[in-house]
Symmetry: C2
Subunit: 505 residues, 2 copies
């Protein structure tokens, strides 16, 4: 008879906790290797780094899925004397276990090695501005993702299996409905905007010295409440946030000399992600309750800061004088309202990360439909550039001049992330609903923001969202915080009010 059956629940739970924390150690170590790979690693280090991260990933998978841990979970599940938090942890671990168990160790290793190589070939493809350089690795990745979907299992569309990894319970059915409900009112709003005179944004396309941009971005992060004792910012090809505990959260940014927007909003966006990670409960290190709810809720945090605060009239009432101090020659002569309208200019464009917050959702829709069809087999990797360019033409009426401005722009596929993009749109819709709730629940929130006091908002997010970790699903959390399920009317209302004022219709 296995010894665990005669152990006290307290002891048993300690064992569970210690095991999960060891798995977390390895996962976070892997994250350090990946962070280094995208920030500082010299190019010739890539091959050995690929096998190092693969070895760690495989080990984490092995530890998490081993039989003895399964037995521990089953036994804990049967105990009646766990408290509510413990019960929730065990329940979520059991769910994770049953998902992970479906992936073989050899599959996990193959995926990890391929992902490291794919990232290098994606970088090389960008350097040579040629999707063909990336295509062979992407084809291999797609085959692995199909295998993954089959291993994980799904009802309906195979894409559901991948979606579910990022957003538990999400399906193509749900997304098709959301995008269908979005399209008509968003189209109408964009039509209203297009009928008005376009706003000028030349003021954002002047030379902004890189080191000044860096300093400004760091100051914005600091004022948002980012704790630099528990995190840092570096440079990378594509901005991202990662963390090695809630006490070591890393963001990255990129800087374009002739563009004020790229650095500024990547900084605020990643800062929003980072504030979420820094707000997760440190005591639950390695446990489900110490982890973020879902990708869409993570994204709601970045979007809320990026758009609802970071592109708001209230936010720039405070930040604009600061920006003018950093760039007196460039912004000194620009009136606050002109600047505010410029940073909210709506115009169909090529690069998702630099799109306005309205047309953005058509960028996501493109990727969502593309990924669905790649999974179905209706499209092959070789079809991507042509299909991409046609879709952008049809949806946004823009034509990518090359792959760099088209299907090579995002890092996600090189990471093996398919089914990820839709969570960006969901994130925006949650953000609008959360920000609406915060405005109703926190007296003087907007007035505080106008003065650069972001603490009440951060406190509200900490208490209502961050500190709960994975306790609730996205939908449950949304209902608890806002009193109702996700409804895109909040996003549409926000968008309508804001852009009516900006475009004056």
């Amino acid at each position: 008879m296995n010894v665990i059956y005669s152990m006290e629940t307290t002891k048993l739970y300690e064992e569970y906790q210690s095991h999960l924390q060891q798995v977390a150690d390895i996962k976070y170590a892997t994250a350090v290797l990946q962070w280094d790979q995208e920030t500082y690693m010299p190019p010739k280090g890539a091959n050995f780094r690929a096998r190092q991260t693969a070895t760690l990933s495989e080990w984490a998978h092995h530890l998490f899925t081993r039989e003895s841990f399964k037995n521990l979970l089953l036994e804990l599940n049967s105990r009646g004397d766990l408290d509510a938090g413990q019960k929730k942890n065990v329940e979520l671990s059991w769910y994770d276990y049953s998902q992970q168990e479906r992936l073989s160790a050899s599959f996990v290793r193959a995926m990890s090695e391929l992902v490291s190589k794919s990232y290098q070939s994606w970088l090389a493809a960008r350097k040579q501005n040629s999707f063909a350089v990336f295509a062979p690795d992407l084809s291999k990745l797609l085959e692995l993702k199909k295998q993954e979907a089959d291993m994980l299992g799904y009802e309906g569309h195979p894409y559901n299996a991948l979606l579910n990894q990022y957003e538990r319970g999400a399906t193509t059915g749900l997304l098709d409905r959301v995008f269908a409900r979005l399209q008509a009112p968003l189209k109408e709003l964009l039509g209203n905007i297009a009928a008005q005179p376009q706003v000028a944004d030349d003021c954002l396309r002047q030379p902004f010295a890189k080191d000044q941009q860096w300093k400004f971005g760091m100051e914005v992060l600091r004022q948002m409440g980012f704790d630099f004792e528990a995190g840092r910012q570096d440079m990378s090809e594509h901005p991202f946030t990662t963390n090695f505990s809630s006490r070591d959260v890393r963001v990255t940014t990129r800087i374009h000399e002739n563009d004020f927007t790229s650095m500024t909003w990547s900084c605020i966006h990643e800062g929003g992600h980072a504030l979420y990670e820094q707000g997760l409960p440190e005591a639950a290190y390695g446990l489900p309750l110490g982890e973020f709810t879902s990708l869409s809720i993570h994204e709601s945090q970045s979007r809320l800061w990026e758009n609802n605060v970071g592109r708001s009239a209230d936010g720039w009432r405070h930040f604009y004088p600061l920006a003018q101090q950093y760039f007196p020659a460039q912004l000194g002569p620009v009136a606050p309202d002109d600047f505010y309208r410029a940073i909210n200019k709506v115009r169909p464009s090529l690069i998702r990360t630099e799109a306005d917050e309205l047309t953005y959702h058509f960028h996501v829709l493109t990727r969502y439909e593309l990924e669905k069809q790649l999974l179905e087999g209706g499209l092959t990797v070789a079809d991507i550039p042509g299909w991409w360019n046609e879709k952008y033409k049809a949806l946004l009426n823009v034509e990518p001049p090359d792959d760099l401005h088209g299907c090579l722009q995002d890092v996600h596929w090189s990471h093996g992330s398919l089914g990820y993009f839709p969570t960006y749109s969901l994130g925006s819709f949650y953000a609008a609903q959360f920000f609406d709730a915060a405005g109703k629940q926190v007296p003087g929130l907007a007035a505080g923001i106008r003065k650069g006091n972001f603490q009440p908002l951060l406190d509200w997010l900490r208490i209502n969202i961050h500190c709960h970790g994975r306790r609730w699903t996205s939908e449950e959390l949304c209902e608890r915080v806002t009193g109702e399920p996700l409804d895109i009317r909040f996003f549409m209302q926000y968008a309508h009010d804001k852009y009516k004022a900006i475009y004056r219709f």
Copy 2:
């Protein structure tokens, strides 16, 4: 019956290799975490980082020492059809195994956790300039090191067990003899120097802008032959070299605004270490033949570049005009010979890493004797500051004004490295002997160096030392390369010739 007994040797050897390379993956991953810890990690990340590195160290130890690997090694040892290189790898792995087997997994974990904490308390102690802040962790470390010596086993002095980890076969007997043979002639040489007028080195203590120093150091590294596609330089509290494969070698430096020497020679020193790592055979990743010979041979490479090249008249014939270009205001007015004498000024001082290459060995002697006595129990951790200061007074006639300039100056103890310092002196002696041999074997070596052509020297080091990895012991390597065992007459001859010219006696 175990399956390995019926396996073909080729298959068996592949299994051995694959296992060792997995161990290497984990060790290098740990090295990435440690590199990050000393370069970029935010302070609040320290606690979780400590447990992450501990988990990885424990796992590497576990994998390396597991029974099935032992059986694999025993079986391979019994096979007659290994080639010479394979035989050597297996033989060295068996030696490593039998060493590692003596340390329990719980000991390895305890050591790793304590080392991470100790590094933080050493940093805190330096910040507060108080050895007392570091002492509690150091006491715990010392206890663990005593346990370690007992577990490893030794003949004679317990210190031998620790020495042997860095320098196989080295003993207190050997070191006592080497230091005894060194002391009289070095004392005489220092006496001769002290009897002459002191050289001026004010030219080195001017304000040298940090970013210019950084650029100069990077250029020096590049010219030495450091491959920046397979490595990089960053900043840290204490300069060090680490690597995650021979294709990813990291050096760090520190910069003092009013001191030209600290950055420059730490850069050249770590550069020498890094060239060794970049020269190790990539194909032997994770295997003994892909590893460095010993710490003293590693140090011989850094010392050779730092002193025999980097403080030579020949070397600065080339580098001085470059330095003048970087610092025209500071060095433009300084004659080459005055500069050369300044960088070789001999004067007893407080900081080991900034000591001249002669009195340096008394810094090492102090640490060597101190560590020996700590191990014996003749001294306790609380005695260190007092003992240290007295010894510096007696040996070098200098008095540390505080712990920062005394017993808190080196990072080594905080890493758990006891028995490490003596390899620095051995390294200098090997360096002198190697450089003498290179001069005899490579036609036009000195003339090349005077023109900034370091490639012939690097080629000689690659062929004679780097590419052999751990194939020979330090002593064997020395005999093969120079035709005789280590003899400090090479160091003394070099020192005598050089300083006679500089101090004109």
